[in-house]
Assembly symmetry: C2
Homo-oligomer: 494 residues x 2
């Protein structure tokens, strides 16, 4: 809270009541947007020091603000700016009504978007890439420095193919939070979820095979499936509850599906989270059909509610679920450490790992194991969740405010992504190109679809702490959308 | 040289000539094997301090030993124990007389050998895995610690797909030694040569395609080619000069070969090194046929002669050579950093990298870049070459001494491997199994052949500093070979 924009002195006020002056000062900060919905307000102690008033005066001021509905107390944590009363837009509908098979032709669009994203001085609302200062906490680097110093003294043991014992033990302990009882021996270290999913796809399928995926889905899955000569069948997916099980059951009847590749907790780009009882039914259904489920759970720890949603793996009794996870997105970019628990495909995944990339980096694993062991990880996750929840609240409000009428918006209960449905006439590729000219990067809908549908959708990354430049970028995106909409309607009416 | 077994005081001698007493003491150490052929003898200064005699006495003693042919001076470096006068066995002949196409069925043998190797308390003469204390020098870990400390202070930049600029610049500088003029932009960081080769194979070929490989070749290449649904054509390869170009030309005429995958400098397991002019012809031939060459040059820096052999890439004028290299085997196990310079296939390799493992670990790259930049790498390589050259000399002598008559042996001019041809009656899988019971691990010939030929060959790793336990293991291997030979001959004569 060090950079909080509270004025150094109290403004003059003639009521004589100090607490009224304090509260009106804070109220003004909230109204001007210097303190955003979901953000923590300065602690009572801090404000009392800054304004040189008594603790009880600040307490009284905060009670008043609470009564006025501007802030809210959270137990053991302090006061937070209350989300403003605004009407959230309706949620998007299903992108796809029934399962659809696709021979993938992902083409150059995705790589063009990825390359565009590398350019300098962009407001980056597209990819979910790490933010300097937010990810990779100093304590992690200190753990690595200490591992490196020890290695300088004692040398390094040869790399172990499945990963370091200390790392696998910590991962197993950590997986308990998602309901999994994994032994360290069931876990294989990888360089991240991308490698994990790649290995799993090759372990369970061969070229020509059909893979069921969510619609929309992460573009990297489309690229992987295409590059391995496999085919995809897209399953309709609800923005809130995830994959439609009836549609999946129908697809399993009609098609020779060899595997499912799903993100069940805070999916990318939908943000959907499948309720745990529905996960249990999914796992049961796939076990009966003997169809393996490749589950990518990299966002599961980023829940905003009371408890972490379970992984599908936690319901698995037949080794039929291959659970993929990673520390790259939420803790340790620059380290490249992930893992996979491949169930009954363990030896196959281990073999493929051995021949395609060999062992994973020992020193990075040891540093992460140390960070997990000393409890720093939970602290780090709590901080991230707070920032992401605030980011999604602010972004939702800004989109509701600046985007054209008819815009729909997801309401994710975790993660860092918003999936925005623009009015049907707004072509998101056109919006993407115009935004890029304004140095704003977004992710256009078609990259998330096997057949490049979702033409009026965009994905927004809310993982960065809210800032004026982000607000300005959303305002600009709103203007551009209005422009495109108006132009399309003009053309249509001519 | 700190652990050198020189007695603390001079033995009594009644000649009265101090330098004679010094020289006979050192001669005895050489004859007893405490100082091995190729090893450096203590410096003049050190010996003079230890024996408390004058510098000129030691110089006189060393001149005498030099005259007797026991040691030799190397300019700017000091005195070394001269290789003993023993007759090296003849070199092996071609394993394969003409090109041979194979649908690979690598099967479980390789993985069994790999798993056996993980067991504890083995004398490890099989794999080329790293040795604690020999690889990963302390200065490298100190560089990593310093990178980690800086990251704790300043945060970490997002990973860059192709690798860190500092790393790619150092690799480009380093590649000059192999005759390559690469720009940093032509280099992509990977997790090692295994990943590099995997990406290259997928970039240039598709399932069903035919790849030309050396015979014998590294077993990992066989596994990769098989797993990608590709087929191999084995090309006869000379133990000294590498791939037979006539046989390759013939194969290129007869078969629709889509790529070559070769190790031209100190190949695994042959140790062959293709002369530079022959490399130029190879590159020319393949460019004319438009067949890409995937070159794995991970052993090229481990030359024993005056200069580093060139890479084939250095003769490439058409972007037709994809050069793969790695720091995992010779510098930094535990870091997992390699690279690839894929020529005209750059964007394809970059794409496959992106979708299969995404970016590589930034912090490890930065540490290696720092180690390369400050000149530590050259020092490290000189030390490794010295130890490997001595290891190969000692191992060759021991094999010549203990193995059955008729044994043949390669004479590599670099690297760390010996390829041993046993009398035809000795089944190397039988020898492998019996050796394992004695806690000795070797690599049996059949894992290096697409059709599991090379049944009377074994590969020995000479990368560890010579020791009594290694000498005892070679003696034991010799005994086992004699036993198997005798048993086979008995059976044959019955």
């Amino acid at each position: 809270m060090s950079a909080l924009p509270v004025p150094a002195t109290l403004a003059p006020d003639d009521t004589g009541h100090l607490y009224l002056r304090v509260s009106s000062q804070v109220a003004e900060l909230i109204e001007k947007g210097s303190l955003r919905p979901g953000e923590k307000v300065p602690s009572v102690r801090r404000l009392s020091a800054q304004f040189q008033v008594s603790i009880s005066t600040v307490v009284q001021a905060y009670r008043l603000l609470e009564n006025r509905g501007l802030i809210e107390a959270r137990p053991q944590s302090g006061y937070y700016v209350r989300p403003r009363r605004w009407t959230p837009p309706p949620e998007p509908e299903l992108c796809l009504k029934e399962p659809s098979v696709a021979d993938l032709k992902v083409g150059d669009l995705i790589m063009q978007v990825v390359r565009d994203y590398q350019a300098g001085s962009l407001v980056r609302l597209g990819a979910t890439c790490a933010t300097v200062g937010l990810h990779s906490p100093p304590a992690l680097h200190r753990a690595l420095a200490s591992v490196a110093r020890r290695s300088a003294q004692r040398g390094v043991e040869p790399d172990s193919l499945a990963g370091r014992a200390a790392f696998r033990a910590q991962v197993a302990r950590h997986a308990v939070a998602s309901g999994c009882a994994l032994s360290p021996g069931e876990i294989i270290a990888t360089s991240g979820a991308t490698e994990s999913v790649h290995l799993c796809l090759r372990a369970v399928c061969k070229p020509g095979d059909l893979i069921a995926i969510e619609s929309p889905t992460f573009f990297g899955f489309l690229q992987l499936i295409e590059s391995l000569g496999m085919r995809a069948v897209e399953i309709p997916t609800y923005p809130r509850d995830g994959v439609c099980l009836d549609a999946l059951a129908f697809a399993l009847e009609q098609q020779d599906i060899k595997a499912c590749l799903f993100v069940l907790n805070f999916a990318n780009p939908l943000g959907s989270c499948m309720p745990d009882d529905k996960k249990a039914r999914l796992v049961q259904m796939l076990a009966e059909k003997n169809v393996p489920l490749i589950e990518n759970d990299i966002y599961g720890s980023l829940f905003f509610g009371k408890a972490r949603p379970r992984s599908a793996k936690s319901f698995d009794r037949h080794g039929n679920v291959l659970l993929c996870d990673s520390f790259n997105k939420i803790l340790a970019p620059g380290y490249r450490v992930g893992w996979v628990a491949p169930g009954r495909f363990q030896s196959k995944v281990e073999y493929l790992k051995f021949i395609t990339t060999d062992a994973s980096a020992s020193l990075a694993q040891l540093a992460i194991a140390e960070f997990l062991a000393n409890g720093s990880y939970e602290h780090h996750l709590r901080r991230l969740r707070r920032i992401y929840a605030a980011g999604i609240a602010s972004m939702s409000e800004a989109v509701a405010h600046f985007f054209p009428a008819g815009t729909r918006l997801t309401r994710p209960a975790g993660g860092q992504l918003l999936w925005v449905e623009l009015p049907a006439e707004v072509d998101s590729l056109e919006l993407y190109r115009r935004a890029l000219q304004e140095r704003i990067a977004i992710a256009p809908g078609p990259i998330f679809s096997a057949k490049q549908k979702c033409r009026n959708f965009i994905r927004l990354n809310c993982g960065n702490p809210w800032s004026e430049s982000i607000e300005a970028a959303i305002r600009k995106l709103g203007c551009l959308s209005h422009d495109i909409l108006a132009a399309t309607r003009r053309t249509a009416s001519n």
